[in-house]
C-alpha cells in the first residue's frame, strides 16, 4: 500500500535528517525497520473526501507567538480563512516516532498540498513545546532540515511560558517535564503527539496522533472541511 511505504520513508528520513544516534534512543537499531514493516503501518485506503463528517471538537483560541524570523505574529492572521494543520513539537525531542515523525509527515503533507493545488487553502503551524531552547533561530534551522516552505509551514515559539501554557490549554495538549532520579529537569518533555486540523473559522475538526498521521487522510480531511458548507457553524448554536 502507498501509505505503508510512506510511513517507512518518513522514519528513514527522520534518521538522516536529524542525525540522531540510534543507540541513544533505542538499543535495537532494527526496530524501525520492523516498525515500518507493519507494526504501526496504515494498510488501508482512506475513505474518499466528502463521504464522511468531521464534527466540531473544540474551538482553538488565537495566540500571539514568535515566528522563525523573530517577528510577533497572531496565529489567527496565519490561519484565517484557511484550513490549518497545527502541531506541537520541540526540536530537541529524541523520540523518533514522536516529533521527528511528525516533522517528516508534515513535510510529506506540504508536498502533497502543493501537488494537489491546495497550498493557498491550507497552512501548517508547528508550535514549540520548549520555550527555553527553541528560539526563532533554532526553529529556522529545524525548518530547513524539514524543508518547511516559509509561506506554507510556519514554525512558531511562545514569547513566554505563560503564553505557551495558554496555547496548550486551548488545544488540550499535554506536556510534562521529565526529571531524572535526582529530581533534575532532563530537558525532555513527555507529551502525546497531537496534530490538530483547524477549519477556516478556528474550530478543531480532527486530531491525529502517532499511527494516524497519514498525509493522504489529512489531505482528504482538508478537502472534506473545505467542501463543508456548514463550516461556519459555531459551537454555541449546534
Amino acid at each position: 500500500m502507498r501509505q505503508f511505504v510512506l510511513v517507512g520513508a518518513w522514519v528513514a528520513a527522520a534518521f538522516l535528517a536529524l542525525n540522531i544516534d540510534p543507540a541513544a534512543a533505542h538499543p535495537i537499531p532494527e526496530l524501525e525497520e520492523t516498525y515500518t514493516q507493519g507494526v504501526f503501518s496504515p494498510n488501508f485506503i482512506p475513505p474518499a473526501a466528502g463521504t464522511y463528517d468531521l464534527p466540531v471538537i473544540a474551538r482553538a483560541q488565537p495566540v500571539v507567538l514568535l515566528d522563525a524570523t523573530g517577528r510577533r505574529i497572531n496565529t489567527a492572521s496565519l490561519m484565517d480563512g484557511k484550513v490549518a494543520i497545527v502541531s506541537f513539537i520541540y526540536t530537541a525531542c529524541s523520540d523518533r516516532l514522536g516529533c521527528p515523525l511528525a516533522g517528516i509527515a508534515l513535510r510529506e503533507l506540504q508536498a502533497q498540498l502543493r501537488r494537489e493545488g491546495l497550498q493557498d487553502q491550507a497552512v501548517l503551524l508547528s508550535i514549540s513545546l520548549d520555550v527555553e531552547h527553541d528560539t526563532p533561530k533554532q526553529l529556522a534551522k529545524y525548518g530547513r532540515v524539514f524543508g518547511a516552505e516559509p509561506s506554507l509551514w510556519h514554525l512558531l515559539t511562545a514569547p513566554s511560558q505563560q503564553v505557551l501554557k495558554a496555547a496548550l490549554e486551548s488545544y488540550g495538549q499535554d506536556r510534562a517535564r521529565v526529571y531524572d532520579e535526582d529530581g533534575r529537569f532532563t530537558g525532555r518533555y513527555r507529551h502525546v503527539l497531537k496534530v490538530f486540523l483547524v477549519d477556516q473559522v478556528g474550530q478543531v475538526r480532527n486530531i491525529y496522533s502517532t499511527g494516524s498521521l497519514v498525509p493522504q487522510v489529512i489531505v482528504n480531511d482538508i478537502k472534506t472541511v473545505l467542501a463543508d458548507k456548514t463550516a461556519d457553524r459555531s459551537l454555541s448554536n449546534r
Partner: protein
C-alpha cells in the same frame, strides 16, 4: 527515570511498544493489552490498580468510588487499598477508561448515565474527581448506559447499552472532547441495534462493536430475568465492522448470544479479534478474509459458565477467559487462532468477572462483581496472579468488603505524575 517503558517511550502507540518489547524481550507490564492504540502504555511494573467500585448501602459511605490498590511488589503496602475517591451516590459503576494522554480517567454509571472524570496525573496514588457529566442522555439525544470509554486523540469514544425512549438495547456510540464537550452521537445500524464494547485497529482503519442488552434487562434481578423468556430474547447477537475514520458500518456479523468484550490481536499482520458470548458461551474469532471482508467463527465452546471477560497476551499466544458461574479463569493457547487449546485453569473464586493483564503478560488481576442486580451476595475482592514456572500463582487477595463491589480495573504508575511547573 522510572523503570517503566512508559517514561522511556512516552508518546508511542500501542503497536510500537509491542514491537519494542518483543524485540528486546524486556520485562514489561494492566488490561494494558486491550487499551486504545492511541494511549501510551505502562510497559514496566504497574504501581497501582484503579478499581471502579460499586457502592453498597450500609458499607462505608455507600457511594460508588474509585479505589486505588498498591500492586508494586516492592511496596510496603503491596496488595492493600491505599486510597478511595468516592463520588456522590450510587450509579451502577461499571467500566472506565483513560483519555489519550492518560491524565484523566472517565468512569460511567449504567443506571443514571452519569460520567465521572478523575484526575490521575496530579497524584497517581490519589485520583481526584474533577468533573461530572450528568447530561449524557440529553447530550446524545437519548443514549443510556455509558459503557466502554475508549481514547481517541483528544476525544473519548463511548459506547452505550440502552436508550431513554424504551430502555431496550437499541443504542449507539457518543464522542466527547477530552474537556467533556459533547461532539456527536452515532446510532447503531437498524439491523444491529445493540451495543456494548468498541475496539479500533488503526492499521486497518477498522472498528468493531459488540452487543449486550438494554437497561430494562441489566437493571433487573438476574433470577427474575432468566425466567422471563421474552426478556431473554432481548440480547444482542451481532458484531459490527466499521470504517473507523468515517465512523460508518460496513458489515454486520451474526454472533448469537451476546458477544461482550472485543480483543484485537496485537501482532503485525494478525488481522483478527476475539470475543466471547455470555449466553451462548462460545469463544468467537472475528477475522479478515482473503477478499478483505470479515467473518465470525465459533472456535471453542466454553461450557455453560457465563464467560464475562477476556484478555489477550501481548504476543497473541494466549487468551484468558473469566467465567462468572464457576469462578474460573481459563487460559487458551491461541497460537492457531482457529484452534484454541485449553492449557491452564484456576479456580479464582465465586463470581469471577473482570480480568486485567499486565503489558508483558506476566501479571493478572481479577475482580468479582458483574452488576449490582446480578451479583450473588458474598465476598468482594481483587485477586492478583502471576506466571511462575509455567503456572499461574496466586499473589494476593485484596478484601473489598469494606468499600464495595470491585469491577473494572485500570493501571496506574508513579511515572505518570505530572508535576506542576
Amino acid at each position: 527515570m522510572r523503570h517503566t517503558a512508559f517514561s522511556t517511550y512516552p508518546k508511542r502507540g500501542f503497536w510500537i511498544l509491542a514491537t519494542i518489547l518483543l524485540l528486546m524481550a524486556a520485562p514489561a507490564a494492566a488490561d494494558e493489552t486491550c487499551q486504545s492504540p492511541f494511549l501510551p502504555k505502562i510497559t514496566g511494573q504497574e504501581d497501582y490498580v484503579y478499581v471502579w467500585t460499586l457502592g453498597i448501602e450500609g458499607v462505608a459511605d455507600g457511594n460508588d468510588s474509585l479505589v486505588t490498590v498498591d500492586v508494586n511488589p516492592t511496596s510496603k503496602r503491596y496488595g492493600q487499598i491505599i486510597h478511595r475517591t468516592p463520588v456522590p451516590g450510587r450509579h451502577e459503576a461499571h467500566h472506565a477508561g483513560f483519555t489519550d494522554d492518560r491524565r484523566h480517567l472517565w468512569a460511567g454509571g449504567l443506571d443514571d448515565s452519569h460520567i465521572f472524570i478523575f484526575d490521575v496525573a496530579s497524584n497517581p496514588a490519589r485520583p481526584k474527581l474533577v468533573k461530572t457529566i450528568t447530561s449524557f442522555v440529553k447530550d446524545t439525544g437519548g443514549l443510556v448506559g455509558p459503557h466502554t470509554f475508549y481514547a481517541l486523540p483528544g476525544r473519548m469514544l463511548i459506547t452505550a447499552l440502552s436508550n431513554a425512549t424504551d430502555s431496550s438495547g437499541r443504542t449507539g456510540l457518543a464522542e466527547y472532547s477530552n474537556e467533556g464537550r459533547f461532539i456527536r452521537t452515532i446510532w447503531m445500524p437498524k439491523e444491529a441495534p445493540y451495543g456494548y464494547d468498541v475496539r479500533v485497529n488503526i492499521n486497518l482503519n477498522r472498528m468493531l462493536t459488540s452487543t449486550f442488552t438494554g437497561k430494562n434487562n441489566y437493571m433487573r434481578p438476574l433470577g427474575e430475568l432468566v425466567k422471563d423468556t421474552e426478556a431473554m430474547k432481548a440480547f444482542g447477537d451481532t458484531v459490527v465492522v466499521w470504517d473507523f475514520h468515517a465512523r460508518k458500518p460496513l458489515q454486520v456479523l451474526q454472533v448469537p448470544g451476546a458477544p461482550l468484550e472485543l480483543r484485537w490481536a496485537l501482532q503485525p499482520n494478525h488481522y483478527y479479534a476475539f470475543t466471547s458470548t455470555a449466553l451462548a458461551h462460545q469463544l468467537t474469532l472475528i477475522y479478515q478474509q482473503g477478499d478483505g471482508t470479515w467473518a465470525a467463527k465459533s472456535i471453542a465452546d466454553l461450557g455453560d459458565t457465563l464467560p464475562v471477560d477476556i484478555s489477550i497476551a501481548p504476543d497473541d499466544s494466549k487468551l484468558y477467559v473469566a467465567s462468572f458461574m464457576d469462578g474460573r479463569l481459563r487460559v487458551y493457547d491461541i497460537s492457531d487462532p482457529f484452534k484454541p487449546k485449553l492449557i491452564e485453569q484456576v479456580k479464582v473464586g465465586e463470581s469471577a468477572n473482570m480480568v486485567s493483564e499486565s503489558w508483558d503478560g506476566a501479571r493478572l488481576y481479577v475482580t468479582n462483581s458483574l452488576l449490582s442486580k446480578w451479583d450473588k451476595p458474598g465476598d468482594y475482592w481483587l485477586k492478583a496472579y502471576a506466571w511462575e514456572n509455567g503456572k499461574l500463582v496466586h499473589k494476593f487477595t485484596t478484601d473489598f468488603n469494606s468499600v464495595g463491589r470491585a469491577h473494572l480495573m485500570n493501571f496506574g504508575s508513579k511515572a505518570l505524575r505530572a508535576k506542576p511547573e
